[in-house]
Symmetry: C2
Subunit: 124 residues, 2 copies
């Protein structure tokens, strides 16, 4: 099973994280697990991927963090969506729909794409 390449995924990991946080606060390690589980066989994100993205989302004020002692006695850094993050998620969803539409239109059918019809067997 081929994995999703960086280029394909580019720009979407942030959105995926925001989407996970939409349903409630969570922490880095759990977010990775969650994403990999929900899209099993497709997504295989590592921790090295998620943490730097979380930091950037925090810098951009889309999410906020708070340390908290979990039931099992460990310290976890919980992230939650804040107002700017909600807006960003909404925007990103719209952008995703637009991209889907565009990709569908171009990738979908592949006839009549050229202004000038090609001469059969012509060496160009």
């Amino acid at each position: 099973m081929t994995r999703l390449s960086k280029q394909t995924l580019d720009g979407n990991v942030e959105t995926l994280i925001l989407a996970v946080l939409e349903s409630g606060p969570s922490y880095g390690y759990a977010i990775v697990k969650e994403l990999n589980e929900r899209a099993e066989g497709i997504l295989q994100l590592g921790e090295g991927t998620i943490y730097p993205v979380l930091y950037r989302l925090e810098e951009k004020k889309l999410i906020a963090a708070r340390w908290r002692l979990a039931e099992n006695g460990r310290q976890r850094k919980y992230y939650r969506l804040i107002s700017k993050g909600h807006k960003a998620l909404a925007t990103n969803r719209r952008q995703w729909q637009m991209l889907s539409a565009a990709m569908g239109k171009v990738l979908g059918s592949a006839e009549n794409l050229l202004p000038q019809p090609q001469v059969k067997g012509a060496t160009i």
Copy 2:
């Protein structure tokens, strides 16, 4: 009408170009026009976007270029898909389907994403 941001588009412009070239050779200026037309209101690529991408595709041996005198007397640089490019396009299509699936699973429904149920009103 909001435009597609770089982040959303990231990794897909190459695929879009390959898809256009799939139906026959074309040149930079025409490819831009074609893409913007086919996804009108969504894509608004500039020439500054397309040319550097074409150069990179050429470096990566996915496409090949040949200068050619057009009917109107102008010199145009025609690009065509070569074998490595066909394979890349096939791969990218598959990647796109995978991404669609993954985004759908995560963005689509937003319940039960958390391992631990949230306490109502809890300040985390």
